[in-house]
Chain length 137, copies 4
């Protein structure tokens, strides 16, 4: 679990900002979800297919998030995603949103649980995904 | 179809604004959807139950929208919703977002179609809804 | 600081949900911000006037958030907001999103800092606000 | 004004979808704004610098939008942006959101006006931008 984090670039648009002139705080959660989704895709898995074919969703259980510096319109940012801990039915991530100079704007510890798509009851992470994570991170 | 429009008050929060200091344009579509949903609720129908019990969704087909004046943080607005035309499988609304002085900030003609919830194919509006609209508007 | 929490009702619309069929996780941050804004308004303060007249913003510094149960379309929820700790330049809140049966769907500890509106540098909470909080909570 | 449209790829994430299982209608407006912003950037202009250095914003005045087919989670889409008409103080765009097979999911005619950033009063499009549009489109 010590590989380089997965990174995904993104751009700040008007939709992401608020009247304070900077990125609206909930926007960072959207950015981080894009990061986790693309990380999962690099392992060969798509959330829609997981839901349809295996009846599984990854759902957020807990998040600790520090907002350190504001980001402004047109900024080019990067979301860095790293698996910090893999458990039988959940994954703990560390995620950073950084500016092009490498400053941390936002940092979060994110706990995602694997649940049944219909009833949201916890279930084990499929072995194929667990192996891809262990091998790929 | 000449009754007074249904009105729903709303408040502008940071989440609705952008770095221009005013309501982000796509926010008005969210406001108008709240208005249509509450209008439908006053007729006795809820979208989640329609989807679950009758397998129906109302989906947007077309919108003509004029953005006339900006709205700012903390503003108290009203969404006015009026059925302009009821067809067998669609409803045409006129919707206005107004400030407390009655100024029109945004005006739209909105065409919603009734579709099957799974395949999004057009289907007739249930008679119970059509009657409630005809009687109630 | 032991008074009953401020509560604000809200309704779940399509805009708040995602393809999992439940409220999108970042939506709870929007709900909680509505709660803090209305809490502040009951004390007699509006964020837009604070920014314009005193050059101040309240900005999120840190959030610990637990997502406990999903909420679905059309649900009627309540955001409960309580000041947990008042510091010279920041406020710590406890916030809950609950369903009509009083179940906790989401719980957060939220740290908001008072900053200059232009440069986002920390600054003291104005005495008028601090007094209103101490008296009112 | 007959050049090939500017195109920008995008991916559908959970944040873009709603409980109907497809992209939430207002999401297309966000997608189209990303398209116009990137189109402007290819001409050498950034909205934040326009606001700061010239006191100008481009603001939406009118939109006619047809929602033709739904898009689902994980879909790879393209936003195509083409200037249809350049006027002294406004630009009319035609924008399409398409799937990888080239199907039109959503089509809009979008009228953007150039306004003063503080008071939102109409003002002429700077000559440098008008020339870049005429030359570049």
């Amino acid at each position: 679990m010590s590989r380089a984090p997965h990174t995904r670039p993104l751009r700040v648009y008007y939709e992401d900002t608020d009247a304070g002139g900077v990125v609206y705080h909930a926007g960072y959660l959207r950015f981080m979800e894009r990061g986790r989704t693309e990380w999962l895709r690099t392992l060969g898995f798509e959330q829609r297919r997981l839901a349809q074919e295996q009846g599984l969703l990854f759902t957020l259980r807990r998040m600790e998030i520090d907002f350190m510096m504001p980001a402004r319109l047109d900024a080019e940012l990067v979301v860095a995603t790293r698996v910090q801990r893999l458990r039988p039915a959940s994954i703990e991530f560390e995620q950073l949103v950084q500016d092009p100079q490498g400053n941390d704007l936002c940092r979060a510890i994110v706990l995602c649980a694997c649940v049944e798509a219909t009833r949201f009851r916890p279930t084990g992470i499929p072995q194929s995904i667990a192996e891809a994570i262990s091998g790929g991170n």
